[in-house]
Symmetry: C2
Subunit: 313 residues, 2 copies
């Protein structure tokens, strides 16, 4: 069974750990958000691509959710001591190696996809990890700070640097209209037996992928093969700031309502057992509604969820 | 007493530790070689500028000679694991912060001198550290490998990557003729009471500085105010590969002969007490010859040497 997953960071990473236990890792293609990629200190940082890579490689830090297990932050601490402009972004020492390597290969003229293939290979990842595009796309947040001043922020500035403290007015995926899906993205959607929308932030992670010309239409065409897992559990995201971004796009922060963000795309939608009371409403919004334990504290739980998702009819 | 020093890496660093104990640190200006600067993984690395900064800041690793004390190499180890192209250059985690910071500031449009001022300030260095130029100058080594193939190597490739194993045919300072001394370099030489040529590699460290238009002439004009310390002790450099590079420019590897590299520049020349037998020959080559303990295992010894150097007449 060939599975193609649309993925952001942590939530997707945990789910993918389970997915590659449910089906052979080689049969999984992951299309990853690059809208929150950022150049810091001259280095090309791809947070979601790295998260997916680290999770699939089994080196992710489960507690922290991002970065590698056993990470240290010596360089980052020194950077803060020096007062470096980009030091608000906490780059781990091991993680830095990935960014340095990526920057090296990009400088040699390789595309982000080619670089990602090289990196995932070196990390022993057997699934195909595809950045959504090789073109520059940036998720930008239009917001107002507490003094009422308008801000136009890179997503990472909004989220990591300023801690999602500003009132968001709108979100845009700069460059998306001019971008092309990276090689393999459209075929991976077209040829999949199942297309999974991972439990990632719809606005910050999945939205940018769907905004790449051709992707939304390709997913829509797969119809009943498309299944999504709610990133909202008990009226809140498990991690992140989806609760602040969903209202901006007119979507309520609950496991059923969030399916409407994928209107015309998801055929089957899985909510957490804690939201069982929303099952009926969910069934009104999507053709097939399912309920399962979606929290994924362990790989076994993630595997059980993946099997449920793949079998749901 | 205002002292201006021409400096490379380790030997200069040790000497400068003593110099700023002999005179107020604020009265010292250090003009530093940037010929072995290199861009690695997108980061601007300035090995000699950093060495001088770390030594003056008191954070240098005395045993290793380069980098900071208490350094770790987590990112570098990971980079080698990944097989990154630039991983032969062993960047420490703390050291990386300096390179990331420098790259940040250069990207903001600051010159290398401005960046260096900012970095040295943050490290608490009270002396003025001036990169010899803000323009790109690269020391390149024309060599032949063991199979007889010609190589044209960046100095760091010759030295760090290939371990100085190739037979050197010539050395050139690419870009030097088109470069301008950085702001403050010429006045620092003109206004100094003493100009010191540190015990650094003449060909790899001091040569590039003297190759910047205007610098050699400015030093020559200071005449009897110019004093040098031999980097060669007992017929060999204490560290580095000066023994391989001096013959290429026609200079014998001994404490007296190396003064001839600075022909017409150094008025006083200090050799190590282990080379006392060369004192007579040294006196034939330079107007004033001195002999002292130049090895500088401790700051006190470096201070004693600095005082000797400043007082020599």
């Amino acid at each position: 069974m060939r599975v193609t997953a649309l993925a952001g960071g942590v939530g997707a990473g945990k789910f993918l750990r389970g997915l590659v236990r449910a089906v052979p890792a080689e049969d999984v293609t992951v299309i990853v958000n690059t809208g929150d990629d950022i150049v810091l200190h001259g280095l090309h940082v791809s947070p979601d691509v790295d998260s997916v890579t680290y999770w699939l490689a089994g080196v992710a830090d489960r507690e922290r959710g991002w970065g590698m297990a056993g990470e240290t932050f010596r360089a980052a601490e020194k950077l803060r001591e020096l007062g470096a402009p980009g030091s608000w972004f906490n780059l781990g020492d091991l993680d830095l190696a990935t960014h340095l390597f990526r920057t090296d290969l990009l400088a040699l003229g390789m595309s982000l996809s080619e670089v990602t293939q090289r990196i995932t290979e070196r990390f022993g990842v057997r699934s195909l990890v595809l950045p959504m595009t090789d073109d520059p796309v940036t998720t930008r947040v239009q917001a107002v700070d507490e003094s009422g001043s308008s801000l136009d922020l890179h997503f990472q500035e909004y989220w990591v640097q300023r801690g999602a403290q500003d009132e968001v007015q709108s979100i845009r995926y700069e460059g998306a209209e001019q971008a092309a899906p990276s090689r393999g993205v459209i075929p991976a959607i077209e040829e999949a037996d199942v297309v999974v929308i991972c439990p990632s932030n719809p606005v910050a992670s999945i939205g940018p992928i769907l905004a790449i010309p051709g992707v939304r239409a390709a997913v829509a065409e797969r119809d009943e093969r498309v299944v999504g897992v709610s990133p909202i559990v008990g009226g809140a995201p498990l991690r992140g700031m989806a609760d602040k971004l969903l209202p901006v796009v007119g979507v309520d922060v609950d496991a059923a309502a969030v399916a409407t963000y994928y209107d015309g795309l998801v055929h089957r939608w899985v909510i957490d057992r804690r939201d069982t009371d929303l099952l009926e409403r969910t069934a009104e919004l999507v053709p097939v509604a399912g309920v399962f334990d979606t929290v994924m504290d362990t790989d076994s739980r993630a595997e059980a969820l993946a099997r449920y998702v793949l079998d749901l009819h």
